[in-house]
């Protein structure tokens, strides 16, 4: 299964979904069409916002770094934060906020412990530039990268419950190897969490 398939399994039919950093709204559109969800996206890029509106999605221009206090406690069945936490100024605060707002949350992270990242750093002695992390250190939106181990430790520290987790290889597919050694062989990790 790929990440989208897993999300579709985790999101319940007819539920209320908030996607933080929804981009062009691809995930929300699929969830609305296939699972009849009530969807709301948060996005900062206006071209993306226009594309969301074109698709008939509700989308709010908002900078997640400036807070999410406008959303009530447990006001959404599912909050999705896909490949977003590593670009935020305060990932811990954001994690606490999403688990406050969502009854359940899906968080996807790029795994800095992935073997190719490790090899890249070991051999070159420079900050890794890989397929999933393509930017130079001084010019990357990814300012808070972590490994699978780091993320799970943060969840424990925050009292966040990891309900389910899945790991995907560099082509975005789950396999027996990513399940066996996720922190080494998983390029991306996806968590279903709650608090």
């Amino acid at each position: 299964m790929d990440a989208l398939e897993v999300i579709k399994n985790w999101v319940k039919k007819d539920s209320e979904v908030l996607d933080l950093g929804c981009g062009k709204g691809e995930i929300l559109k699929i969830l609305s069409e296939e699972l009849n969800t009530t969807s709301l996206g948060i996005e900062i890029d206006q071209e993306n916002i226009t594309l969301c509106i074109q698709s008939g999605l509700n989308v709010i221009q908002q900078n997640i770094d400036e807070g999410l206090s406008n959303f009530g406690d447990k006001s959404f069945d599912m909050v999705i934060m896909s490949q977003t936490i590593q670009v935020l100024k305060e990932p811990k605060k954001a994690l606490l906020e999403v688990t406050r707002i969502g009854k359940e949350c899906i968080v996807t992270i790029p795994n800095f412990g992935y073997w190719s990242t490790r090899v890249n750093l070991l051999i070159s002695g420079k900050m890794p530039v890989t397929g999933s992390l393509p930017n130079a250190w001084h010019d990357t939106p990814n300012i808070h990268l972590c490994t699978i181990k780091d993320f799970e430790l943060l969840c424990i520290e925050c009292g966040i419950n990891i309900i389910e987790k899945r790991f995907f290889d560099s082509s975005g597919i789950e396999n027996s190897l990513t399940r066996l050694l996720p922190n080494l062989l998983g390029s991306t990790a996806m968590y279903k969490i709650s608090k």
């Binding site: 209320e16 009530t38 709301l40 206006q46 071209e47 916002i49 226009t50 594309l51 969301c52 509106i53 074109q54 698709s55 008939g56 999605l57 509700n58 989308v59 709010i60 221009q61 908002q62 406008n70 959303f71 009530g72 006001s75």
Partner: protein, 369 residues
């Protein structure tokens, strides 16, 4: 302008029935002037209502025969523009209380044979919306595809979605606020004082004696105009440029910004009615849909069924982005279909009149999705 509609004509209608106003009075035989652009389709499903702001009127788009100056929202309304008249039938009335042909303080009160003047009842945004619904009935439009407005116009669009949830599919609420702040009301009060203290105001009965409080109206407009522009826009447009290149050590208009404001004030005072201006500022001051719901805006929004687009502008300090976010957050809390954009624009409150690319694309997508 080649992309403006041409030979625009003004329509006038006398509405059937009476309008019961929030203040307790009734008005009958209301005249409304309005313009239309584009063509109404066979099932009347492509109609968009445009609501004008404080000093606006029914001439929203296009140009009149033998005139060059287009309507106030021509940048956004027209063929292939944000509000595309090739697809939509666009209607813009001059609201009741106005001074451009609709029944208002300068109209003749049939009971007295004189102009209403200060006796014209205080109107509210809800009254306007009910009056516009009477116009909708007359035009055979049961459901508006959208109701859109900027500033005070945005407040009408919001009120429409609350008062007539079944009659409006989309609401465009642009550069608006859920109610005026003390600072907003303060500016309005200074404008009102400027008018009522003009000796030619004659307690509001200036028309009866062939006068007009032009100095007061000019000053009111100058104050208003400052609040429509941003500091940045003023700096870019005028800086500290001197009309004659040097200081003259006197009190004439020396800086460009002074002569600009004086000119704008003069033009306005020639074409606008002082009692209407007073009324419009009161309509703004009174607007507060949350008031009937213990101040809880989300409860005021409970009945809304429309999809809403809220737009604010970065340099607008009259109704800042924070004010739009109050509307947005209450709509989120009430679990309504809302989208929100904050457009980077240097033009202050007036930004809603300019065809910024992201703004145009967002609005067009909203209307056509």
């Amino acid at each position: 302008m080649s992309n403006s509609l041409e030979a625009i004509e003004v329509n006038k209608i006398t509405l059937d029935g009476k309008l019961e106003l929030e203040c307790g009075q009734d008005i009958e035989n209301i005249d409304l002037v309005y313009e239309t652009y584009g063509t109404l389709n066979s099932d009347a499903s492509n109609a968009i209502l445009i609501c004008h702001a404080l000093s606006g009127n029914h001439h929203a788009a296009g140009i009149y025969q033998n005139e060059e100056r287009p309507g106030w929202w021509d940048a956004l309304i027209g063929p292939e523009k944000a509000i595309n008249t090739n697809k939509f039938f666009v209607v813009c009335p001059n609201n009741i209380g106005g001074c451009h042909g609709s029944t208002g303080p300068s109209s003749i009160n049939k009971q007295t044979g004189k102009s209403y003047g200060p006796d014209f009842p205080i109107i509210t945004v809800a009254d306007w919306v009910r009056c516009q619904s009477m116009l909708s009935d007359s035009l055979g439009i049961k459901v508006w595809h959208a109701v859109i407005g900027g500033s005070l116009g945005g407040m009408q669009a919001l009120e429409w979605s609350c008062l007539f949830p079944k009659r409006i599919k989309k609401a465009g609420i642009i550069a608006a606020a859920p109610k005026l702040s003390a600072q907003n009301i303060a500016f309005n009060e200074v404008a009102r004082q400027a008018i009522v203290n003009d000796p030619d105001f004659v307690s509001g009965r200036y028309l009866d004696v062939g006068k007009s409080p032009k100095q007061g109206l000019k000053l009111a407009r100058m104050i208003g105009h400052i609040t429509y522009l941003s500091e940045e826009a003023m700096r870019n447009k005028f800086g500290r440029e001197l009309k004659e290149g040097k200081l003259k050590f006197g009190f004439d208009a020396e800086f460009e910004v002074e002569s600009y404001l004086r000119y704008q004030g003069d033009v306005f005072s020639e074409s606008f009615d002082a009692n209407t201006y007073l009324l419009m500022t009161k309509i703004l001051d009174y607007f507060d849909p949350a008031d009937k719901f213990e101040g809880e805006l989300d409860k005021a929004f409970k009945e809304i069924e429309a999809q809403l687009l809220v737009v604010s502008f970065s340099t607008d300090w009259r109704f800042s982005p924070e004010r739009s976010k109050e509307i947005v957050n209450a709509l989120i809390k009430a679990k309504k279909d809302v989208s929100y954009m904050e457009i980077d624009s240097p033009h202050g409150h007036d930004s809603f009149l300019f065809a910024d690319k992201e703004y145009v694309n967002g609005l067009a997508s909203f209307l056509e999705n």
